[in-house]
Protein backbone atom coordinates (compact mmCIF):
# COMPACT_ATOMS: atom_id res chain seq x y z
CA UNK A 1 0.00 0.00 0.00
CA UNK A 2 1.25 3.40 -0.95
CA UNK A 3 1.90 5.75 1.96
CA UNK A 4 0.18 9.16 1.77
CA UNK A 5 2.34 12.26 2.28
CA UNK A 6 1.61 13.91 5.59
CA UNK A 7 3.84 16.89 4.93
CA UNK A 8 1.69 20.10 4.72
CA UNK A 9 4.49 22.59 4.17
CA UNK A 10 3.63 23.30 0.52
CA UNK A 11 0.00 24.07 1.21
CA UNK A 12 0.77 27.41 2.84
CA UNK A 13 3.01 28.41 -0.06
CA UNK A 14 0.28 27.69 -2.58
CA UNK A 15 -2.22 29.68 -0.52
CA UNK A 16 0.20 32.58 -0.34
CA UNK A 17 0.68 32.51 -4.10
CA UNK A 18 -3.08 32.47 -4.63
CA UNK A 19 -3.54 35.38 -2.25
CA UNK A 20 -0.82 37.38 -3.99
CA UNK A 21 -2.43 36.70 -7.36
CA UNK A 22 -5.83 37.76 -5.99
CA UNK A 23 -4.33 40.85 -4.43
CA UNK A 24 -2.59 41.82 -7.65
CA UNK A 25 -5.82 41.17 -9.53
CA UNK A 26 -7.82 43.46 -7.28
CA UNK A 27 -5.12 46.08 -7.49
CA UNK A 28 -5.00 45.88 -11.29
CA UNK A 29 -8.80 46.17 -11.44
CA UNK A 30 -8.90 49.18 -9.13
CA UNK A 31 -5.97 50.76 -10.96
CA UNK A 32 -7.64 50.26 -14.34
CA UNK A 33 -10.95 51.66 -13.05
CA UNK A 34 -9.31 54.73 -11.53
CA UNK A 35 -7.29 55.38 -14.69
CA UNK A 36 -10.20 55.00 -17.09
CA UNK A 37 -12.69 56.96 -15.01
CA UNK A 38 -10.17 59.71 -14.22
CA UNK A 39 -10.94 59.40 -10.52
CA UNK A 40 -8.20 61.69 -9.23
CA UNK A 41 -8.65 64.10 -12.14
CA UNK A 42 -12.34 64.46 -11.24
CA UNK A 43 -11.44 64.76 -7.56
CA UNK A 44 -9.57 67.97 -8.39
CA UNK A 45 -11.44 69.19 -11.46
CA UNK A 46 -15.08 68.71 -10.48
CA UNK A 47 -15.25 71.17 -7.55
CA UNK A 48 -12.81 73.60 -9.24
CA UNK A 49 -15.45 75.82 -10.83
CA UNK A 50 -17.39 76.19 -7.57
CA UNK A 51 -14.16 76.92 -5.73
CA UNK A 52 -13.43 79.55 -8.36
CA UNK A 53 -16.89 81.04 -7.73
CA UNK A 54 -16.21 81.29 -4.00
CA UNK A 55 -12.71 82.73 -4.49
CA UNK A 56 -13.79 85.31 -7.07
CA UNK A 57 -17.27 86.28 -5.87
CA UNK A 58 -17.74 84.83 -2.39
CA UNK A 59 -20.55 82.47 -3.40
CA UNK A 60 -20.56 78.65 -3.67
CA UNK A 61 -21.68 78.64 -7.30
CA UNK A 62 -20.05 78.12 -10.71
CA UNK A 63 -17.89 81.16 -11.39
CA UNK A 64 -20.03 82.57 -14.22
CA UNK A 65 -23.20 82.41 -12.09
CA UNK A 66 -21.44 83.60 -8.95
CA UNK A 67 -20.62 86.91 -10.61
CA UNK A 68 -24.30 87.83 -10.59
CA UNK A 69 -24.40 87.29 -6.81
CA UNK A 70 -21.29 89.29 -5.91
CA UNK A 71 -21.87 91.10 -2.58
CA UNK A 72 -21.06 94.46 -4.23
CA UNK A 73 -24.31 94.08 -6.17
CA UNK A 74 -26.48 94.05 -3.06
CA UNK A 75 -28.77 97.04 -2.67
CA UNK A 76 -27.73 98.82 0.48
CA UNK A 77 -30.05 101.21 2.26
CA UNK A 78 -29.49 103.58 5.09
CA UNK A 79 -31.77 105.77 7.14
CA UNK A 80 -31.14 108.95 9.06
CA UNK A 81 -34.07 108.39 11.41
CA UNK A 82 -34.76 105.75 14.04
CA UNK A 83 -37.46 103.20 13.36
CA UNK A 84 -40.40 104.41 15.51
CA UNK A 85 -41.56 100.85 16.11
CA UNK A 86 -38.43 100.16 18.18
CA UNK A 87 -38.58 100.54 21.93
CA UNK A 88 -36.38 103.05 23.61
CA UNK A 89 -34.24 100.23 24.99
CA UNK A 90 -33.61 98.83 21.51
CA UNK A 91 -32.32 102.15 20.17
Amino acid sequence: MMRLASNANGQMTIEMVLLVVALFGVMAGVSQYMNSSGYFKNFVERPADRMRGMIESGVWMPSATAKTYHPNLFNRRQTTSVDPSLDQEDR
Partner: protein
Protein backbone atom coordinates in the same frame (compact mmCIF):
# COMPACT_ATOMS: atom_id res chain seq x y z
CA UNK B 1 13.62 17.16 12.22
CA UNK B 2 13.32 19.85 9.63
CA UNK B 3 12.48 23.26 11.06
CA UNK B 4 9.31 24.72 9.42
CA UNK B 5 9.67 28.01 7.51
CA UNK B 6 7.65 30.59 9.45
CA UNK B 7 8.85 33.72 7.61
CA UNK B 8 5.69 35.47 6.34
CA UNK B 9 6.76 39.07 6.88
CA UNK B 10 6.94 39.84 3.15
CA UNK B 11 3.26 39.21 2.61
CA UNK B 12 2.10 42.11 4.76
CA UNK B 13 4.76 44.30 3.15
CA UNK B 14 3.14 43.77 -0.24
CA UNK B 15 -0.27 44.60 1.19
CA UNK B 16 1.16 47.69 2.83
CA UNK B 17 2.82 48.95 -0.37
CA UNK B 18 -0.45 48.87 -2.29
CA UNK B 19 -2.48 50.51 0.47
CA UNK B 20 0.25 53.03 1.15
CA UNK B 21 0.11 54.47 -2.37
CA UNK B 22 -3.62 55.21 -2.05
CA UNK B 23 -3.43 56.59 1.47
CA UNK B 24 -0.38 58.68 0.67
CA UNK B 25 -2.05 60.05 -2.47
CA UNK B 26 -5.16 61.16 -0.61
CA UNK B 27 -2.99 62.70 2.10
CA UNK B 28 -0.96 64.66 -0.45
CA UNK B 29 -4.09 65.72 -2.30
CA UNK B 30 -5.79 67.02 0.84
CA UNK B 31 -2.57 68.75 1.86
CA UNK B 32 -2.34 70.39 -1.58
CA UNK B 33 -5.97 71.56 -1.48
CA UNK B 34 -5.76 73.04 2.02
CA UNK B 35 -2.43 74.70 1.23
CA UNK B 36 -4.03 76.12 -1.92
CA UNK B 37 -6.76 77.75 0.17
CA UNK B 38 -4.11 79.26 2.43
CA UNK B 39 -2.20 80.58 -0.60
CA UNK B 40 -5.46 82.05 -1.93
CA UNK B 41 -5.95 83.89 1.37
CA UNK B 42 -2.43 85.33 1.15
CA UNK B 43 -2.97 86.42 -2.46
CA UNK B 44 -6.31 87.91 -1.41
CA UNK B 45 -4.58 89.98 1.22
CA UNK B 46 -1.99 91.13 -1.35
CA UNK B 47 -4.70 92.41 -3.70
CA UNK B 48 -6.49 94.02 -0.76
CA UNK B 49 -3.32 95.85 0.32
CA UNK B 50 -2.71 97.00 -3.28
CA UNK B 51 -6.33 98.15 -3.68
CA UNK B 52 -6.10 100.01 -0.37
CA UNK B 53 -2.95 101.84 -1.50
CA UNK B 54 -4.65 102.68 -4.79
CA UNK B 55 -7.79 103.85 -2.95
CA UNK B 56 -6.15 106.52 -0.80
CA UNK B 57 -6.18 110.05 -2.18
CA UNK B 58 -2.98 111.36 -3.76
CA UNK B 59 -1.77 114.05 -6.14
CA UNK B 60 -3.16 112.38 -9.25
CA UNK B 61 -4.80 109.17 -10.41
CA UNK B 62 -1.50 108.10 -11.97
CA UNK B 63 0.19 108.44 -8.57
CA UNK B 64 -2.58 106.40 -6.92
CA UNK B 65 -1.97 103.70 -9.53
CA UNK B 66 1.76 103.82 -8.81
CA UNK B 67 1.12 103.40 -5.11
CA UNK B 68 -1.10 100.37 -5.69
CA UNK B 69 1.38 98.68 -8.03
CA UNK B 70 4.29 99.47 -5.72
CA UNK B 71 2.50 97.89 -2.75
CA UNK B 72 1.79 94.70 -4.68
CA UNK B 73 5.39 94.49 -5.94
CA UNK B 74 6.65 95.06 -2.40
CA UNK B 75 4.56 92.19 -1.03
CA UNK B 76 5.34 89.91 -3.96
CA UNK B 77 9.06 90.35 -3.40
CA UNK B 78 8.93 90.19 0.39
CA UNK B 79 11.12 87.47 1.87
CA UNK B 80 8.21 85.84 3.67
CA UNK B 81 5.95 85.65 0.59
CA UNK B 82 8.30 85.29 -2.38
CA UNK B 83 9.10 81.56 -1.92
CA UNK B 84 5.39 80.69 -1.94
CA UNK B 85 4.70 82.12 -5.40
CA UNK B 86 8.06 81.50 -7.04
CA UNK B 87 8.62 77.88 -6.05
CA UNK B 88 6.58 76.32 -8.84
CA UNK B 89 3.60 75.35 -6.72
CA UNK B 90 1.67 78.60 -7.09
CA UNK B 91 2.01 81.64 -9.32
CA UNK B 92 0.54 85.12 -9.53
CA UNK B 93 0.29 86.76 -12.96
CA UNK B 94 -1.58 89.52 -14.80
CA UNK B 95 -1.78 91.94 -11.88
CA UNK B 96 -3.95 94.90 -12.88
CA UNK B 97 -5.67 97.83 -11.21
CA UNK B 98 -8.62 99.18 -13.15
CA UNK B 99 -12.41 99.38 -13.47
CA UNK B 100 -13.86 95.87 -13.89
CA UNK B 101 -17.45 97.03 -13.93
CA UNK B 102 -18.18 95.82 -17.47
CA UNK B 103 -17.68 92.18 -16.37
CA UNK B 104 -20.60 92.33 -13.95
CA UNK B 105 -24.36 92.78 -14.41
CA UNK B 106 -25.55 96.36 -14.91
CA UNK B 107 -26.01 98.32 -11.72
CA UNK B 108 -26.79 101.89 -10.75
CA UNK B 109 -23.33 102.70 -9.46
CA UNK B 110 -20.87 102.16 -12.29
CA UNK B 111 -17.74 102.50 -10.18
CA UNK B 112 -18.09 99.88 -7.48
CA UNK B 113 -15.89 97.25 -9.15
CA UNK B 114 -12.74 99.38 -9.26
CA UNK B 115 -9.76 97.73 -7.64
CA UNK B 116 -6.88 95.28 -7.90
CA UNK B 117 -6.88 91.82 -9.48
CA UNK B 118 -4.35 89.06 -9.99
CA UNK B 119 -4.57 85.65 -11.66
CA UNK B 120 -3.77 82.88 -9.18
CA UNK B 121 -2.65 79.47 -10.53
CA UNK B 122 -2.13 76.31 -8.50
CA UNK B 123 0.26 73.94 -10.27
CA UNK B 124 0.64 71.93 -7.07
CA UNK B 125 -2.71 70.27 -7.78
CA UNK B 126 -1.28 68.60 -10.90
CA UNK B 127 0.68 65.44 -10.17
CA UNK B 128 0.99 61.82 -11.25
CA UNK B 129 -0.23 59.09 -8.91
CA UNK B 130 1.61 55.75 -9.30
CA UNK B 131 -0.74 52.99 -10.61
CA UNK B 132 -3.88 55.16 -10.30
CA UNK B 133 -3.59 57.87 -12.92
CA UNK B 134 -3.07 61.59 -12.70
CA UNK B 135 -4.76 64.64 -11.23
CA UNK B 136 -3.87 66.67 -14.31
CA UNK B 137 -6.94 68.25 -15.82
CA UNK B 138 -7.41 70.17 -19.06
CA UNK B 139 -6.11 73.33 -17.48
CA UNK B 140 -4.35 74.24 -14.26
CA UNK B 141 -6.66 75.42 -11.50
CA UNK B 142 -6.72 79.21 -11.60
CA UNK B 143 -8.90 82.02 -10.32
CA UNK B 144 -9.00 85.79 -10.49
CA UNK B 145 -8.43 87.13 -7.00
CA UNK B 146 -9.75 90.65 -6.66
CA UNK B 147 -10.32 93.40 -4.17
CA UNK B 148 -12.72 96.18 -5.13
CA UNK B 149 -12.38 99.21 -2.89
CA UNK B 150 -12.99 101.90 -5.58
CA UNK B 151 -10.84 105.05 -5.46
CA UNK B 152 -10.89 108.37 -3.68
CA UNK B 153 -10.73 111.41 -5.96
CA UNK B 154 -7.23 112.73 -6.39
CA UNK B 155 -6.11 116.24 -5.49
CA UNK B 156 -5.90 117.13 -9.19
CA UNK B 157 -9.45 115.97 -9.80
CA UNK B 158 -10.77 117.90 -6.81
CA UNK B 159 -8.96 121.08 -7.85
CA UNK B 160 -10.30 120.69 -11.37
CA UNK B 161 -13.81 120.09 -10.04
CA UNK B 162 -13.67 123.14 -7.74
CA UNK B 163 -12.31 125.34 -10.54
CA UNK B 164 -15.17 124.35 -12.81
CA UNK B 165 -17.61 124.87 -9.96
CA UNK B 166 -16.40 128.43 -9.32
CA UNK B 167 -16.64 129.20 -13.02
CA UNK B 168 -20.25 128.02 -13.03
CA UNK B 169 -21.05 130.09 -9.92
CA UNK B 170 -19.50 133.15 -11.55
CA UNK B 171 -21.56 132.58 -14.68
CA UNK B 172 -24.76 132.21 -12.66
CA UNK B 173 -24.18 135.38 -10.62
CA UNK B 174 -22.66 137.53 -13.36
CA UNK B 175 -26.09 138.78 -14.41
CA UNK B 176 -27.57 138.71 -10.94
CA UNK B 177 -28.32 141.45 -8.41
CA UNK B 178 -24.81 141.48 -6.93
CA UNK B 179 -23.12 142.02 -10.28
CA UNK B 180 -19.94 140.57 -11.73
CA UNK B 181 -17.82 138.43 -9.40
CA UNK B 182 -15.04 137.91 -11.92
CA UNK B 183 -12.33 140.14 -10.56
CA UNK B 184 -12.93 140.31 -6.85
CA UNK B 185 -12.76 136.64 -5.90
CA UNK B 186 -9.96 134.08 -5.93
CA UNK B 187 -10.16 130.29 -5.78
CA UNK B 188 -8.62 128.85 -2.61
CA UNK B 189 -8.62 125.09 -2.16
CA UNK B 190 -7.18 122.92 0.57
CA UNK B 191 -5.57 119.56 -0.11
CA UNK B 192 -8.37 118.36 -2.32
CA UNK B 193 -11.97 117.72 -1.40
Amino acid sequence: MKKPNLGQAGFITLDFVIAFVLVFTFTVLLFAITLTFSAVEIAQYMTFAAARSYYAANISEAEQLNQGQAKFAELQNANYIKPLFHGGWYSLTNFTIQNFNSEFPAQNDTKIFIGARVLFSADVLNFQVPFFGSTNSKETFSANISSYLTREPSSDECTQFNTQRVQKIKQVYSNGPIGDLGSGYYLITDNGC
